[in-house]
């Protein structure tokens, strides 16, 4: 069915590229982390206490996903639903405390004057913002700050943003929660002493899958279509196909290779992209060859591939360069030396080639 394949493709792409729909399977290690984060944030919102915590894990293992999941659950929770505001900052984007402050003001929906803020000191400005928030609504609204790339905030001048945020979270007249996401294990060492003392030292570690079984189950859940999928017949065939695929040796081999190289979720999604994107009316079910092709494309030897496109002359130059670099034992050399050297002239056997200057290499 034509629309079946197209709808399946759209749905699966949503799964692969946005964190909204994850197929429902949550591995064990993540459940713990989810539970803790949720508890902490609930305490902040409901009981108005200030909190800070750090989630540490390598790239692609799901830190942002954890935060998104928790917020989705909080939206569903009656007590918490309208009682918090989320402020999202990223160390790559907000490279300066001033930019961060403007962003906070914007996300808290406060109309602020730029001049006022530049004249005030950072802590006064932040207090002003939070007070404005409080006076706006009746009860205390908790603010949850999510700081992505937390380690980059530690490289700002004086770490003033971090200091002020953590200070407020400790002093608890404004209930805020500071959640830092980072990939550096030693991020606490980066903090200054005064900042470190205000931090609650609650760190949650997220690791990628340690067992292939979990990885394969995650792959299966990512690829399965949900029960409420419209074309029932298509879904039935699809599920059968997925079951078969995950017994297939080629597919398992591809998954295993990817697992051995990097066991995180992002690399799994990259592997699954090509098979999903090749769904079409003529090709409505996934095939084992898609998986092997995908693996080959991702892990192709790029340098070798580029070298295949060089002409013979350029390859001779590379050979001469290699020989000279061995001779000079690591000392630097330049193109002039290569041209004058006997290695190069010995490679140019036929006088037909002449003496060329290749400027592009």
């Amino acid at each position: 069915m034509t629309t079946g394949a197209a709808a399946a493709e759209t749905l699966l792409r949503n799964r692969l590229f946005s964190d909204l729909d994850d197929g429902g399977y949550v591995p064990e290690n993540k459940k713990e982390v989810l539970g803790t984060v949720q508890q902490v944030l609930e305490r902040t919102i409901v009981e108005s206490e200030g909190n800070s915590l750090l989630i540490i894990g390598p790239r692609g293992c799901g830190k942002t996903w954890v935060m998104d999941s928790v917020f989705r659950t909080l939206q569903g929770d009656r007590r918490c639903k309208d009682n918090y505001i989320r402020v999202y900052l990223n160390g790559l984007v907000h490279t300066d405390d001033r930019l961060a402050l403007l962003e906070i003001a914007r996300q808290l929906n406060i109309d602020s004057d730029n001049e006022e803020h530049t004249s005030m000191s950072f802590s006064a400005a932040l207090d002003y913002l939070l007070a404005a928030l409080r006076s706006g609504s009746g009860a205390n609204q908790s603010v949850i700050f999510v700081l992505d790339e937390f380690d980059l905030f530690a490289s700002h001048k004086n770490q003033s943003l971090l200091y002020n945020l953590l200070d407020i979270s400790q002093s608890s007249h404004n209930p805020i929660a500071v959640v830092g996401l980072t990939c550096r294990l030693d991020v606490v060492e980066l903090l200054e002493k005064r900042v470190k003392s205000r931090f609650s030292h609650r760190q949650l570690l997220l690791f990628p899958h340690s067992e292939f079984r979990d990885y394969a189950t995650l792959a299966q859940s990512l690829l399965s279509l949900p029960i409420n999928f419209k074309q029932r017949q298509f879904r039935h065939e699809w599920q059968k196909n997925i079951q078969k695929l995950l017994q297939n040796a080629k597919v398992l081999q591809a998954l295993q290779q990817q697992f051995r190289l990097s066991a995180d979720v992002r690399s799994l999604k990259t592997l699954l992209l090509l098979p999903v994107s090749r769904l079409s009316p003529t090709h409505p079910q996934l095939a084992p060859s898609d998986f092997s092709l995908s693996l080959e494309l991702i892990h192709r030897d790029s340098l070798g591939a580029v070298m295949k496109g060089l002409s013979v002359l350029e390859l001779c130059l590379l050979v001469a360069v290699r020989q000279i670099s061995e001779l000079s034992c690591g000392e630097p050399f330049n193109f002039e030396m290569v041209y004058c050297g006997k290695q190069w002239s010995s490679l140019l056997v036929t006088p037909r080639y002449g003496n060329h200057s290749i400027l592009q290499l």
Partner: protein, 511 residues
């Protein structure tokens, strides 16, 4: 009489059968191309040597392209069944020009239905353009197919970052530009050499996305860039925005956080953005500055022989017979392939040399069929041009003029005499020449040997040592070394034959 009647009958019969054959042929080709490409990908699954595969692809690609080009459009358009034209709330009219005979496979006008744009025949969405793209860009069918699969429909989510790499002139920028403009999606095409600072980059990207390719929108920092992207996306109702950054290796030198944030734009803006980086370097060179997110790699291999010939035959000037031009292009390839496989360079060379090649034909000396004579005529020019590849020391107009001058004078087989020297040859005054020689000697000879070479007295010969000496590195290789001024003067006086008093003239010439 009967013979003419029977001739007419047989002609009509042939015409009918030809037409039906044509129709069958078109269908078959279309299916075959699709199947072949799927099959090829199936074969990719097993480990094989790239070389074999690419050579194969090249020959097949030429045949496919030729088939496509020789079949007429009208037949192919009759075959594509009428599509249902349902107006949907979000209407995107795919605009296609009809009846253009130069290009096989252009589709009819159609409107999308719902999200998929699925027509009755099943050729849906972006795959409608596949045929026309392949005919416009010979040799890149596989890459076009991969790109179209990965990019997905404009309403679908796609991978946040792609990395396109390959040798020079392999069609990376061309293919991307053609695909994005035929899909008619909002896209920005930015060259990172032109936009050398983050602010310029943001401004140009925003201007391009809004459709103004020469404008500039003021944007000061990454947060405001993200906000502008978000507001732009909200106006456009959830279509993916494609940002193509050419010469992406320059992004490493700009801000340290620029490359990682560009790769994550989709995540940061919470909208559908796809960043495509195009570069000649491999990803490992950029990986250090990219902050952990690896884009999806897509390699554009160098064109094979068949593909090069197919592309270069498209360059055939008007009025020239194609087969004649093809033999010429064949010669060019055979001679220059070992030196240079860069398609741009080969096309430039052939445009320079083709008039020369045609000369004997035009002057009536030889006919077009006498390829050996033509080859003998053109061979010395090939040899001369060989040393000038990539250099562009002279423009093509100058070269042509030089040829004319040379031919009107005496016939000479060496091109070098005809080419005007672009390098300046200075005539130095007498002392300056000696100073130059002295400085060259001073820079390359180690100072220990000065006494041996330049002293005017006889030296007592030292006994040759019996120990084998270590092979000293060739001093030429190490490059010139700095030397003090008095050493220069000492050598200068020793090589100069007459006695010259140091004077202001000499010292000023040193300066």
């Amino acid at each position: 009489m009967s013979s003419t009647a029977s001739m007419r009958r047989s002609q009509r019969h042939r015409a009918k059968s030809f037409k039906s054959e044509l129709e069958d042929g078109v269908q078959a080709t279309y299916k075959a191309i699709k199947l072949k490409s799927l099959e090829k990908d199936g074969r990719c699954a097993s480990n094989r040597i790239y070389g074999e595969d690419y050579e194969d692809d090249g020959e097949k690609a030429v045949d496919e392209v030729e088939e496509e080009l020789t079949e007429t459009d009208s037949a192919s358009e009759e075959q594509h069944p009428k599509r249902t034209t349902k107006k949907s709330a979000r209407n995107r009219v795919e605009q296609v020009s009809d009846g253009d005979t130069g290009d096989a496979g252009r589709q009819e006008e159609e409107e999308e239905e719902g999200e998929d744009g699925v027509g009755e025949d099943g050729v849906h969405g972006r795959w409608r353009h596949y045929h026309s793209l392949c005919s416009r860009l010979p040799g890149r069918e596989r890459q076009i197919q991969l790109l179209l699969s990965l990019l997905g429909e404009p309403r679908q989510l796609t991978c946040p970052a792609l990395y396109v790499y390959g040798n020079t002139s392999t069609g990376k920028t061309l293919v991307l530009k053609t695909i994005l403009s035929s899909l008619q999606v909002p896209h920005a095409f930015v060259n990172c050499i032109e936009c050398y600072s983050p602010k310029l980059l943001y401004g140009t990207i925003l201007a391009h996305l809004m459709g103004d390719t020469s404008g500039y929108v003021r944007c000061d920092s990454m947060p405001s860039f993200i906000r502008s992207l978000q507001s732009f996306a909200d106006e456009r109702t959830a279509e993916t925005m494609y940002i193509v950054l050419d010469k992406a290796e320059r992004l490493r030198e700009m801000n340290a956080t620029l490359l990682p944030s560009l790769l994550r734009l989709s995540e940061l803006t919470h909208r559908q953005v796809c960043t495509i980086l195009v570069s000649e370097l491999v990803w490992e060179k950029l990986a250090m500055s990219a902050g952990g997110l690896r884009p999806y790699p897509l390699h554009f291999p160098q064109y094979t022989r068949g593909e090069v010939l197919a592309i270069m035959s498209l360059d055939c000037p008007e009025g020239e017979p194609l087969s004649f031009y093809r033999t010429f292009v064949n010669h060019v390839w055979n001679v220059f392939q070992y030196v240079c496989r860069d398609l741009g360079e080969l096309r430039y060379l052939s445009s320079l040399l083709y008039p020369k090649y045609c000369e004997p034909v035009e002057s009536g000396e030889t006919s077009r069929q006498e390829t050996r004579k033509l080859w003998r005529h053109i061979e010395p020019y090939f040899r001369g041009v060989m040393s000038k590849i990539h250099l562009r020391e002279i423009s093509s107009a100058q070269w042509v003029k030089a040829q004319v001058q040379m031919d009107s004078g005496e016939t000479s087989t060496s091109l070098a005499q005809g080419v005007p020297q672009s390098k300046a040859v200075l005539e130095l005054p007498y002392f300056s020449k000696y100073l130059l020689i002295a400085s060259y000697l001073a820079s390359y000879n180690p100072s220990k040997t000065d006494k041996k070479f330049f002293s005017k007295q006889k030296q007592a010969r030292t006994r040759k040592s019996k120990k084998p000496r270590k092979e000293k590195p060739n001093h030429q290789l190490l490059g010139p070394k700095p030397f003090p001024l008095d050493r220069l003067m000492a050598i200068f006086y020793s090589i100069l034959e007459e006695a010259v008093a140091p004077s202001a003239d000499i010292y000023s010439q040193v300066n």
